[in-house]
Amino acid sequence: MSGDNEETQTTENTPMDEKVQDKVISPEKSEEAKLKARYPNLGNKPGGSDLLRKRLQKGQKYFDSGDYNMAKAKIKNKQLPTAAPEKTEITGDHIPTPQDLPQRKPSLVASKLAG
């Protein structure tokens, strides 16, 4: 499967050329050649265990449950409440206001299909 075959396959052919092409190379095999040209290390067993095992392990893996919960709360992206401006405040005297508390994850919202 040379590069030349690929080129003529994609441009407009005269009816005579097309008949010749059909006998030589099917569109599927031509696509396979394209793929192998791009990824020379691709194995020869596409439906084999590698692909299937990747499929069996679908689902995002986290380091541990703490990592998972952090990602869910997206704490990294949220600003933590700023410290009280007066550093002389005694702990316990300052009553938090709603603005001070970190935002909790919003409640699960209703589907837009029901809107």
């Binding site: 396979e32 793929l35 265990s49």
Partner: protein, 449 residues
């Protein structure tokens, strides 16, 4: 079955009826529709989404004012079926996405459905409440208890009408039976049992019993290196309660008879179309993977969907399908890029119409296809907001494959592969169809005069 002469695509014109969902292009992941299913009467239409939510629509009774169209579907109930979970042992997230919904046949006033995510199947009861007790002896109307000193007479509460309230409650939770990801569920015609299938195993459940499940198919090899195929779908026969089929990623369908043995690893029949070894390519096995299998209502045939085609099989013939319909053959020369963008792994579903004369499946660019088995005709239609004027007739679409593109045709390279129609459903009795785009649900009806 209400349909035109023969009910074929030759005389059926499809009209836009309704569209549900947000208009904006910015689609939140949770809103991606993952399953669509009519109940057995067609009165109810359920959808599940990636956010674990179920929305049920109910058809309004036909109005005398508008005899030319059947009732509209309006929201009946919506609830959160599954929530995201975390598997601590494997440090894996368990998605709340609803993979499948299956309705149980109605036995009493309440409706029941099974919904499943990757790991857990739940039985939901949807019931109506249209009256409530009023006039309690010891409680005020707002629930506060009355001061007992003021209670001097005996008052018996009576039921009074109230605004209809539809309640969904989880009646059973079938958990911890699947190591791999559940891809399908199927309720038996005996209405007592159901199957759930993951990539490697199929389990049989009794609807009443949640702490036990029988494993009846296990294709896990002792050495995982030898894994060559996975289970992709399972379905019970519509009237033979001992028979079910399951499809695989290698393009085979196995029919099993539960009377033969407790473990159905040995199939009774294997349906597989022989492959021409000369045509085999890197993509052959991937595109032969069956993404959906559905019995006909009659139970005589079954339909399978692989990446490029829909095949109809006669249960009496294992050697090859009796009919093959090309859904989008023009994609065969695009397989390289479809592999690179993962579209080649998209799982399209398929469905039969009420009298098994027409089959339907989705494609890309929000196109969907219907194949009339009797008239040997097919049509490509599009679900889009541009064709959403009430009762406007859908115009057939055409993809041009050659060099010359006619007016109104769309070229293969202009197709939007992000607009996939994976889930479609056909009303069991009428020519009403539900088509799900990424985040919208379209309802189309047959044009009635």
């Amino acid at each position: 079955v209400a349909c035109g002469a023969g009910g074929g695509t030759s005389d059926v014109q499809w009209c836009f009826s309704q569209v549900k969902g947000a208009i904006d292009d910015d689609v939140a992941e949770a809103d991606i529709i993952s399953t669509v299913e009519f109940n057995h009467s067609g009165e109810l239409l359920a959808t599940g989404d990636k956010g674990g939510r179920v929305v049920i629509f109910q058809q309004e009774p036909e109005s005398k004012n508008q005899p030319q169209c059947r009732g509209e579907y309006n929201v009946y109930s919506t609830f959160q079926s599954h929530e995201p979970e975390f598997d601590y042992l494997k440090s894996l997230e368990i998605e709340e996405k609803i993979n499948k919904i299956r309705w149980l046949p109605q036995k009493n006033a309440a409706q029941f459905l099974l919904s499943t995510n990757d790991k857990t199947i739940k039985l939901w009861k949807i019931s109506e409440r249209d009256k409530r007790p009023e006039g309690y002896n010891l409680k005020e109307e707002d629930g506060r208890y009355r001061d007992l000193n003021t209670v001097t007479t005996l008052r018996v509460p009576v039921f009074r009408p109230m605004d209809l309230m539809v309640e969904a409650s989880p009646r059973r939770v079938f958990a911890n039976a699947h190591t791999y990801h559940v891809n399908s569920i199927s309720v038996n015609s005996d209405c007592e049992t159901y199957l759930s299938a993951d990539d490697l195993r199929i389990n049989l459940w009794n609807l009443e019993i949640t702490d036990r499940s029988f494993n009846i198919v296990d294709i896990k090899p002792t050495n995982m290196e030898e894994l060559t195929e996975v289970i992709t779908a399972v379905e019970f026969h519509p009237n033979q309660c001992n028979t079910f089929v399951y499809s695989s990623s290698k393009g085979t369908i196995r029919l099993c008879d539960m009377r033969a043995s407790a473990l159905c690893d040995k199939h009774a029949k294997q349906f597989e179309e022989p492959e021409d070894p000369n045509n085999r390519s890197f993509f052959s096995e991937i595109i032969s993977s069956i993404s959906d299998v559905k019995f006909s209502h009659s139970g005589r045939y079954m339909m399978t969907r692989d990446y490029l085609s829909v095949k109809i099989w006669d249960l009496n013939m294992e050697s090859r399908p009796v009919e093959t319909y090309q859904v989008h053959e023009y994609l065969r020369s695009k397989l390289c890029s479809l592999y690179e963008n993962d579209c080649i792994f998209d799982k399209f579903e398929c469905c039969w119409n009420g009298n098994d004369s027409v089959v339907m499946t989705g494609s890309y660019n929000n196109f969907f296809r219907m194949f009339d088995r009797g008239y040997r005709q097919d049509v490509t239609l599009e679900a889009s907001r541009e064709n959403s004027k009430p009762r406007s007739v859908l115009k057939p679409r055409k993809v041009s494959t050659g060099g010359k593109r006619k007016k109104d045709e769309i070229s293969v390279d202009s197709l939007d592969f992000n607009k996939k129609i994976l889930h479609t459903a056909w009303h069991p009795l009428d020519n009403i169809i539900a088509v799900a785009t990424t985040n919208n649900l379209y309802i189309f009806q047959e044009k009635l005069n």
